[in-house]
């Protein structure tokens, strides 16, 4: 069985780093006694790279081949920006899949110049729920600021995912991978962000 996770966002938000943290945890798990896990991380882009949509696909399992998640096969989607969660959720979210959306919106240039409109958060949530998604809205940007740095937003999202999902490895392995990937000076801020994300969805 393959575990498929997609981390969606905008270039520079940290989706690629977050995907590598998850991949590191899986490699750690795969080399253990139970291990026969293969890991792939792929990326899909929207129309552009600069300020454009980026989604990192993480695939973990013994039979993984290519780096892209098949359609309707993502057990979880972490969206660092809500519109990007919708963009990726529609093709990729599996029925009963988990979608965690950061509520902090980044307006596309098309909206800023008045050529397009941005959907409401409730509309995005309802749309993903109409695909049988388990959708959580989370103000991850505020939690990241509370942890001490807006750039830890992906750590917040990983924390929330760790609480809501059945992880393909141990929670400790994910935490170790996070500590191993982020800049050394930011380890404690990132761990705090992870914990805040974990706790924010605990009462649900």
């Amino acid at each position: 069985m393959t575990y498929n996770l997609i981390i969606a966002g905008i270039g520079g938000q940290g989706s690629i780093l977050a995907s590598r943290i998850v991949a590191d945890a899986a490699i750690q798990a795969g080399s253990g006694v139970d291990g026969d896990l293969k890991v792939r991380v792929g990326e899909t882009f929207g129309a552009a790279m600069r300020g454009g949509s980026v989604a990192s696909h993480v695939r973990i399992g013994p039979d993984v081949g290519g780096p892209l998640v098949p359609k309707n096969a993502a057990q979880a989607i972490l969206a660092l920006e809500p519109l990007e969660g919708l963009r990726i959720g529609i093709p990729y979210l599996a029925p009963s899949g988990l979608a965690i959306l950061n509520t902090s919106e980044v307006m596309p240039i098309d909206v800023k110049v008045g050529a397009a409109s941005y959907p409401k958060l409730e509309t995005i949530k309802a749309a993903l729920e109409s695909l049988e998604g388990r959708v959580y809205l989370l103000d991850a940007t505020s939690l990241a600021l509370e942890a001490g740095n807006a750039k830890t937003v992906s750590a917040v999202m990983l924390g929330a995912w760790a609480n809501l999902a059945e992880l393909p490895f141990a929670l400790e392995q994910l935490k170790e991978a996070l500590q191993g990937r982020v800049p050394p000076k930011t380890v404690s801020t990132n761990m705090k962000a992870f914990q805040l994300g974990f706790e924010a969805v605990a009462s649900d």
């Binding site: 905008i10 590598r20 991949a23 590191d24 490699i27 795969g30 293969k38 890991v39 792939r40 991380v41 792929g42 990326e43 882009f45 929207g46 129309a47 552009a48 790279m49 600069r50 300020g51 454009g52 949509s53 039979d63 993984v64 081949g65 290519g66 780096p67 892209l68 998640v69 098949p70 359609k71 309707n72 519109l83 990007e84 919708l86 963009r87 529609i90 093709p91 029925p95 307006m107 596309p108 240039i109 098309d110 909206v111 800023k112 110049v113 008045g114 050529a115 397009a116 409109s117 941005y118 959907p119 509309t123 995005i124 749309a127 109409s130 695909l131 807006a150």
Partner: protein, 636 residues
């Protein structure tokens, strides 16, 4: 450990004891050389960013001729630049292991075309390897150096975006401790070895190349990278090439077909293991071929089948095709293709598809944009302002780089007749460039338009400073020599920014340290251009005056607009504070600042006021210069 495909290729070169690395950056290949540059001190080898792929190829080839193991990496289009030397080096052969790593880009995520460079390996008659995952990317690269020395020929490693820019778990190998001795033998094994014109002549060297091909084929037959798995009693088979093999294996597992289909994985697309393929085809009635790019392997297999009079049905990307010969593969396309081939029907969830079609409408486009504070924003603003004042249909020829973003508006537009098109007014800074093809193409096209007698408007061309060194120099000399009346803009932001901020001769550094930056003004002047000017891209008034002069000047005029890439400026000078803000009382809602195209500028449709995002704004000041009512100033 987790490695990106490009990092895996770099690791393969390190394990093989690489001695010389020379490349020009190009997405999705750049991280191969970037990763090698990062590790150069630790493992001890020479690196350089060259001015273009042909030069880089020659650096690596030259190193090989004196015995060094060398690698050059490039994107698909990069090989076109290197073609002249790429085609001739195989006639003389090489000595030290020489690997040409080319990253193709099916679906053209980052490229002008979807060209399949495996065709060019076959054209040059050199061995080509194609990895199916990151582990193979490393292992093949390492082996490619050995093979290059065995066959005395360059070896091409063909990657694709989904290998190069994807990551996977890679088991590392040992690093070769010995290094090839550097030396030169004019007559190494063959008289006038490295002089393809010298006796015994090019025809005879071509014959030698074909004898090497026999040895390469023998290697391909026994290589573990070409792996056959026959299923007892199966009458159908699949041949998967590189990443296509990985997709195919996964899809067969999912469809539970792997016990009923024979499978051949091809990792060496040229030369193919003919005997292995024959044995495979002979046992089967129907075969499907799954590969990224053009039907390159498929066509060669059709030749093998035809030569041996085999009556086997072959499907792929040709007539009766299973896959389109454009775009890229993905797990869904491959699964559907295999299911169709096996005459299985996959149930589609129609209800779910209907919901999707409905909610898809909500997904707003996120168009590409230049970065906040990009100097090109101001340059395109000025170009449009000047050209609007001059009657006529002006042509602005561009090419590729960050400034290619000036080539499209926010939405697609319909085709129009010549007359309708003439009346079209450019409506945003993102609609400045009329032609974009490939590095350096704009200045040549501009000269052709003038040569044809185009008189309906001004003819301009633009390029970046890295492109200037890469592909522009002969074209400027040509314009001087043939007295072409065009206006040429060089947008100098000091970095090869689009591919990840590699340094170039303007940056003031190479891979070894600081150097004096090249002076483009002096270079252009010395080529005989009479009207050369230079200005600050962030000073719009200055840029406007200089451009007006350049456009009106008789004959060739060249204007250099300088402004460092803002991302690098912010990073290098650690700019963390400073932003612009809009006075909400005096803003008259004219939207002029919005049409500058800076992503930090927002417009509120309700209040009809502009505002600036203080987080992404980097204080460049371009917007303060375009606001007609002076409502934008430094924030507090």
């Amino acid at each position: 450990m987790l490695l990106m495909g490009n990092e895996a290729i770099a690791r393969g070169a390190i394990e093989a004891g690489v001695q010389v690395v020379a490349s020009y950056p190009g997405t999705p290949s750049s991280e191969i050389t970037e990763s090698l540059i990062e590790q150069a001190d630790e493992f001890g080898y020479y690196t350089q960013w060259s001015t273009n792929e042909k030069v880089a190829f020659e650096i690596a080839a030259g190193a090989s001729l004196v015995g060094a193991r060398s690698i050059t990496s490039m994107k698909n289009a990069g090989l076109n630049v290197a073609m002249d030397t790429f085609m001739t080096i195989p006639y003389g052969g090489c000595k030290g292991g020489f690997v040409v790593a080319v990253a193709d880009d099916p679906d053209a995520h980052y490229s002008s075309t979807e060209q399949d460079t495996r065709v060019l390996a076959a054209y040059a008659e050199i061995l080509c390897m194609e990895p199916g995952d990151q582990q193979e990317a490393k292992d093949m690269t390492k082996e490619a150096f050995e093979l290059s020395e065995r066959f005395e020929l360059p070896v091409m490693l063909r990657s694709v975006s989904r290998i190069s820019h994807a990551s996977g778990d890679v088991v590392l190998g040992d690093v070769e401790q010995g290094r090839n001795k550097i030396g030169f033998n004019k007559h190494y094994k063959v008289p006038y070895r490295w002089n393809v014109y010298g006796p015994p002549g090019a025809r005879s060297k071509h014959e030698w190349l074909h004898r090497q091909l026999v040895d390469m084929k023998a290697y391909s037959e026994q290589s573990g990278f070409n792996e056959i798995r026959m299923v007892e009693g199966a009458r159908t088979g699949i041949i998967g090439v590189g990443l296509g093999a990985s997709y195919a294996q996964e899809a067969m597992q999912e469809l539970e077909m792997h016990e009923s289909i024979s499978f051949l994985k091809v990792g060496i697309p040229f030369p193919l293991p003919e005997e292995k393929i024959l044995a495979f085809l002979k046992a089967l009635d129907r075969v499907a071929i799954i590969e990224e790019g053009d039907p390159v392997v498929e066509n060669m297999i059709r030749v093998i089948a035809q030569c041996h009079g085999l009556d086997v049905e072959i499907v792929g990307k040709n007539a009766g095709r299973m896959f389109n010969p454009w775009g890229e593969l993905n797990p869904d396309i491959v699964r559907k293709g295999i299911a169709d081939f096996m005459r299985l029907s996959i149930a589609e969830d129609e209800a779910r598809n209907a919901i999707k079609a409905d909610i898809k409408e909500l997904v707003t486009t996120r168009s590409s944009a230049l970065c906040p504070g990009c100097s090109h924003l101001g340059t395109y603003w000025v170009v449009q302002k000047i050209l609007k004042k001059i009657p006529g249909v002006h042509i602005v020829n561009g090419d590729i780089g960050c400034y290619e973003q000036g080539g499209y508006g926010e939405g697609g537009r319909k085709p129009a007749s010549d007359e309708v098109s003439k009346k079209y007014k450019r409506s945003s800074p993102y609609e400045t460039l009329d032609t974009i093809h490939i590095m350096g193409s704009g200045i040549g096209l501009a000269q052709g338009q003038v040569a044809a007698g185009y008189e309906d408007g001004k003819v301009l061309a633009v390029c970046g400073e890295s492109t200037f060194f890469h592909a522009i120099l002969p074209a400027i000399v040509n314009a001087v020599y043939n007295e072409s009346d065009i206006t040429f803009l060089i947008l100098d932001n000091s970095w090869t920014a689009m591919t990840g901020h590699q340094p170039n001769p303007r940056t003031g550094m190479n891979t070894r340290g600081a150097i004096k930056p090249a002076d483009i003004f002096d270079i252009v002047k010395s080529m005989g251009v009479k009207h050369v000017s230079r200005g600050n891209a962030f000073n719009l008034q200055e840029a406007e005056e200089l451009l007006a002069e350049a456009v009106e000047a008789e004959g060739l005029s060249v204007l250099i607009l300088e402004g460092e890439c803002q991302l690098q400026n912010v990073r290098r000078n650690k700019i963390t504070e400073g932003f612009m803000q809009v006075n909400q009382d005096t803003c008259n809602g004219c939207r002029t600042c919005v049409t500058l195209g800076c992503p930090s500028i927002k417009f509120d449709a309700v209040t009809k006021k502009a505002s600036i995002d203080p987080i992404t704004c980097c204080d460049c000041g371009l917007c303060t210069q375009v606001c007609p009512v002076q409502s934008i100033s430094k924030g507090m």
